[in-house]
Symmetry: D2
Subunit: 496 residues, 4 copies
Amino acid sequence: MPDSNFAERSEEQVSGATVIAQALKTQDVEYIFGIVGIPVTEIAIAAQQLGIKYIGMRNEQAACYAASAIGYLTGRPGVCLVVSGPGLIHALGGMANANMNCWYVECCMSPPISMAETSAVCTAASVIRSAKQPLLIIGKGAAYAHAEDSIQKLVEQYKLPFLPTPMGKGVVPDNHPYCVGAARSRALQFADVIVLFGARLNWILHFGLPPRYQPDVKFIQVDICAEELGNNVKPAVTLLGDINAVTKQLLEELDKTPWQYPPESKWWKTLREKMKSNEAASKELASKKSLPMNYYTVFYHVQEQLPRDCFVVSEGANTMDIGRTVLQNYLPRHRLDAGTFGTMGVGLGFAIAAAMVAKDRSPGQRIICVEGDSAFGFSGMEVETICRYNLPIILLVVNNNGIYQGFDSDTWKEMLKFQDAASVVPPMCLLPNSHYEQVMTAFGGKGYFVQTPEELQRSLRQSLADTTKPSLINIMIEPQATRKTQDFHWLTRSNM
Amino acid sequence: MPDSNFAERSEEQVSGATVIAQALKTQDVEYIFGIVGIPVTEIAIAAQQLGIKYIGMRNEQAACYAASAIGYLTGRPGVCLVVSGPGLIHALGGMANANMNCWYVECCMSPPISMAETSAVCTAASVIRSAKQPLLIIGKGAAYAHAEDSIQKLVEQYKLPFLPTPMGKGVVPDNHPYCVGAARSRALQFADVIVLFGARLNWILHFGLPPRYQPDVKFIQVDICAEELGNNVKPAVTLLGDINAVTKQLLEELDKTPWQYPPESKWWKTLREKMKSNEAASKELASKKSLPMNYYTVFYHVQEQLPRDCFVVSEGANTMDIGRTVLQNYLPRHRLDAGTFGTMGVGLGFAIAAAMVAKDRSPGQRIICVEGDSAFGFSGMEVETICRYNLPIILLVVNNNGIYQGFDSDTWKEMLKFQDAASVVPPMCLLPNSHYEQVMTAFGGKGYFVQTPEELQRSLRQSLADTTKPSLINIMIEPQATRKTQDFHWLTRSNM
Amino acid sequence: MPDSNFAERSEEQVSGATVIAQALKTQDVEYIFGIVGIPVTEIAIAAQQLGIKYIGMRNEQAACYAASAIGYLTGRPGVCLVVSGPGLIHALGGMANANMNCWYVECCMSPPISMAETSAVCTAASVIRSAKQPLLIIGKGAAYAHAEDSIQKLVEQYKLPFLPTPMGKGVVPDNHPYCVGAARSRALQFADVIVLFGARLNWILHFGLPPRYQPDVKFIQVDICAEELGNNVKPAVTLLGDINAVTKQLLEELDKTPWQYPPESKWWKTLREKMKSNEAASKELASKKSLPMNYYTVFYHVQEQLPRDCFVVSEGANTMDIGRTVLQNYLPRHRLDAGTFGTMGVGLGFAIAAAMVAKDRSPGQRIICVEGDSAFGFSGMEVETICRYNLPIILLVVNNNGIYQGFDSDTWKEMLKFQDAASVVPPMCLLPNSHYEQVMTAFGGKGYFVQTPEELQRSLRQSLADTTKPSLINIMIEPQATRKTQDFHWLTRSNM
Amino acid sequence: MPDSNFAERSEEQVSGATVIAQALKTQDVEYIFGIVGIPVTEIAIAAQQLGIKYIGMRNEQAACYAASAIGYLTGRPGVCLVVSGPGLIHALGGMANANMNCWYVECCMSPPISMAETSAVCTAASVIRSAKQPLLIIGKGAAYAHAEDSIQKLVEQYKLPFLPTPMGKGVVPDNHPYCVGAARSRALQFADVIVLFGARLNWILHFGLPPRYQPDVKFIQVDICAEELGNNVKPAVTLLGDINAVTKQLLEELDKTPWQYPPESKWWKTLREKMKSNEAASKELASKKSLPMNYYTVFYHVQEQLPRDCFVVSEGANTMDIGRTVLQNYLPRHRLDAGTFGTMGVGLGFAIAAAMVAKDRSPGQRIICVEGDSAFGFSGMEVETICRYNLPIILLVVNNNGIYQGFDSDTWKEMLKFQDAASVVPPMCLLPNSHYEQVMTAFGGKGYFVQTPEELQRSLRQSLADTTKPSLINIMIEPQATRKTQDFHWLTRSNM
């Protein structure tokens, strides 16, 4: 519990702190995220003295989310430092979201690499060769395994269409000619052979079940985790092992007999046509001149200026879902989003972690953090952390005055004329026209309130040009804006 | 998980929601705090239709803290509505802080009242009568039991000195002539008989142990909870029962024989002298003209303008501890603070709950929420909630640029000249001169940045005068400011 | 973990053991039940050296059940000593069954006594006075509170009919003329005012709901535990406090005005008639001469010889339910059964605990442990413990060759002619004609295999006469035997 | 909870039971172990109707241990069926002992096979080739992976000394000339390269640390489980993958260059000498003619008659430890013992599971279950289960009248002359000369009480000859008997 008198600390505590800090150093820990208090302040100080960076956060939730992202970004443990009792409880959200925390991680040698059984690789290769309508799905596991080179080789050498999952984006660049993201539903629905690289058949992939898939589709599952194999559907072939190593085995096996998937097949034609029509539909939505803007307009303008090497962090409902279809990733492990669990409140922690890593490893790199307005509220005070450490983050708050949807100011005022807000305001509504950008200016960063495409373009240009300060662009959109029509209404969450 | 298409919901979900809402209504639930998402949105809507108020919050942590305060304030269950998975995990902090949540509370009839055993009451009365240096300690339990009238009668009729615990403040007004809060340490240390009314001998009360107490002090414990009796020390007498009912039994028993504690005793003299010297020391600190201000200066000016009937909510380290000694409560159950558990992040949730209750029960009443700058960061985004519901809250952020202590701007800049912040900034430091008041103006409330006593006085006056909007006063104090010298350095947390 | 070399133990372990043993002694612990192993053997030895009795059991389950019974029997904590890991996990059953264990019990001063609010006592007295068809239900809580004298006075002074719950039996003797146990269903169904003394409206009491009760029955609930009040039904009056103290308050209040419930009322007449007809029906069943015997025949013969002061311990399905209606208790806290939770395997642990207490406090007293054959199997090896400590226990195994029901030998052999047992034996069947009495003779006790009333009478007589050894009477009954017809088929468990 | 009226069950329950039974059948479940009660009886019946075998046990602990063994023996899930509440709690011991239970097992396709990285296999082969004093340790994981053929080939082709862990015994026969079990401590202490096949460096293997090992010993770890790799010590090489597949990779790699470990090396000479002297010492102990017998005498006589293909199940302290060194296994997966966790009470459940499997797969095969007398007490009532299903089990109770040690009858009587047993009997003592064999005869099996080598030989011969009934041989040994002198006194548990 709080006490300001540091001098009073006993010898024991200090040396205990040094021991812990030293242990973290031994594990190659580079970053600690936390909130100090008795008795962990000394640990933070001792860690800094050993050259570990300490980033003080504003809520343990965000600290824990930040620490968990470090593991994904660097392959080394991220540490979250909190006081026991309430601090630990606040941090549970982060720990549930990713079991990657100093107190769990006991041993940190680089994990050994396993490969798939040779005969299973043969079978898989022959299933792929015999596919009429093949599809590769590239998941977060492929990114985590650093399998980008081998998978890109597989795609290009055999001319196979691929789809990334949200965090698999960038393993092969989104603008690759064989990426069929723009025809996602069609690709899933008619593929006869699907190879999953570190991707789970969870709700994001509609559990692998009809009517979103052919009833007799053959899945080939490539994964490091035996427990993931065969969940929800029974795969035709399972390749258990390190995803990069297994992909190399597959390449070697396919290389034995000259073959490629015919680029002029009917399947490729179908997919290309669907992509074209979908892209046209999106572009039409994006080019709408009416105000307030819609999601597509916003994201097309952001995409135009998006630096090729930036990190994209995202959370929210439509903001994350639609943003994911428009904003492109060109590099692996450069996208972080709320993920499978759909946890709100992760965005700023993730962005801060990515910024710390970027500052150290590729100075000049930017983090674009795209937040729904509701999502931003979960940890908006971390903007002070961003300013305190002067991190290269551009926050975009896509603001529709609510959760899923809200009201405009006039409707709002009308609504409150006769009754008080707690009785009459729909539960999904937030205050209209909130000036979230002032949460940034309050701490010395740059803030923009934008209502038109021109304002959006200008503010983005300025934010990207000014490398001395973080910024927040508060983008007002149509409060009732939704996404474009879907083919499916069942389990319609994601149009990746 | 999020989906905007409300129309698609099945009949079942809607009727399930109505059943739950109806059950809450049956339990006399008046307020629900939460964050909606699939599938709980319908519950919130159904509840509103039945006349229950729904307050949408920005993070489940704060929602849960708000709900838990409702129980204390109204005696009825407060409800926290969150989605399963991440939402529930975020809410754990609140649930650990107070086990008062819709899903626990099954039965809500008013609890029956129990009384203490008659013979134990006799013994207690005789121990009190024979005390040379008696002391009453009035705890949160006394407030919860609505024992204010009987305890005040006991104090006045028998002329007994009393001390309130943090949340026991106001059961008898802090400015009562028999309140010895200003001589707290002295009173605890030399009392020979201490009667605890719903107060626990925890760390706030130094566990009831020497050297903070006489080794042979006799405790008389009055509590509703048998498990609390005899923790840490063995009491001389235990009175198990409803605190108000037991106090009345005590009054009845003491009334049988004419007696009062002599107001001119040496004990009263000692206490009065100590109070005088402590108050003088505080006043001296408060009257210091040097800038930045210190804690005492700030709180003396706040106390001068504090409305007699306001709620005081508080959290932080020194901010809460010192504020508690200076800011006076005149009414029971009008103070809410971080409490035994020392949880950070509770303040805004508590303030929102108190404001909802105040709006409905005594319009015009104000909530003064006194926050340390670090504490404010835990749930600062709830300011949007405050503005959305236009709640009568005045937020005071007592800003020393850090946790326990921080740096001024010049030192800060100097520090960052040669190294980056994560390597060199002490873990307890926050950004100097943060304009937290802009977090309020961002959402349409009033904001003040104050650096002098005059600015503080003026901003307070304006905030209290303007009843149409919430406000936030960002009060800059000496970054290294600490409290006045204590008699004890051991377990020195609290100078209540 | 096991190691035989005691000499190798370090000084530290030994002194740690002494410290723990000393702490148990300070808490007035008299008995430890457990199974030793590294590192708890030393604790057991140290405890014995301090005069605490150590009873080595054969499975941690039984050890824990024994320890939990000590609390009920003596009011002091019973201790269960197990090794960590598997031992602790085995003991969980016992801990769940009764949270009464050394490691929970931190403080052991005698709990203070609370009383009910005076006005609630007045209301209760007036509700009782105005009752047309009153009923008292005496629960385990009344036994635990040692309320036997005050409740018996209440029953006799005001001539009120009463029913005991399973573990409330004996608070007022079962053969008391005002006990209406033999008309249980009738009494519950038509009472208009029911006073519950430490009894819960759980499934044993049909949750207090129609059709087993009048829809407008008024409950007066007397309990020490506020959480129990108002569960399932909303009581008319609740008296929160020590059950003995509250009963005295009630007596005092009722004494103020001369009154008694008319012994010639229609209600008493109805109850007496029903009791007469029920007792006749039972007696008819009991007097059946056909073999194998039925439950009633067995229990009537047992009841004939049952010593007035014996402990009765029981578990099983029909064995416990029917036994409870026939076997009478004359003293409070002299019945222990599987209780609310219905846990199987508790009987021998309970019997061992009761025997330890009986040996020390009233030498010559016997423990009659009535077990179903399936129930006996859960901890039958504790018979060795009984023999090792030569405990005054008479075990009756009421053996119907199965759980609820079984098969006779001929049917059994027929069944196995063509298929193996695991494929064809019904899941509730056990081996027919098992000689459980040999589990007793194996360890030097006396064993009896009885098939007729005469054999049963003789073996009981011999067992009671021989005070030098424990005995087990294996009583063969009709494998398909069931209970007499019930008025209700809904929630028909218990005909107490 | 219990109710005998099966006819009253609703349609819903019955159809629910069928659905569950069908699901189990779909998962290829062959055996269910459990104790029925409401509402699970119907599930057991429905399962039998679908051809699943149901084995009714006497305590949920044993049921759960039996179910967990099925997984190890058959590779298919074993199911434990218990009622909720107390039944589930009793079953926790089993679930903690082996997380192999129907409700965990969601997907049951045969797991895919992974292989080790090719380069790591090369490194491992070269480390093995360069070893001066190599040692293979064969663990339970090797048995589980069915790696017996490949590992035996590795041993024989390269002439490498090997040691089995308790449950790794039989993967290569214990009487193989390259087995150095009789020189275990020496082999561990001086090996310079140790290859672990599915063996953990836990307390049974002294954590892989000095002084039980060379400080610079190189470990090569072969395991399917990445989390196990690098625990306690940092291995020189780690081969992650299916143990059988990886061993084949190793064979292939070593085959590339002609090599074998020289059979006349100094290392082999040292090991052979130590084995010879250890075996002589054991043989001397075994041949002692004094009575009561010691452990070695008993086990040598048992070993003489042990059928080559029998299952050996064992639990106890010295009984298990010494028995393991003398009783030989010739087939993989034919030994089950208390294992890493040291759980007592597992033996009879394991034996019952093994017997069910043996009956179905290799009729005539016997299960020898070697129990310490204390261990037998944990679940001795399961003897009724053994007799009910007439299982081919021979139980040996090695009886020293206590836990680790006990007293003879005379000492026992002397001890009780002046004080009661609970005050004076040492906590590790059990009743002397208990006739555990009568627990078998009680249920129709054969029982033997043996005190001399001749009686032991005869009873074993008869038990093995009589294939119509289970039997129990109660073998009286010296109550203070211990094991032969060890080289190490530190962590001296196991002389495998």
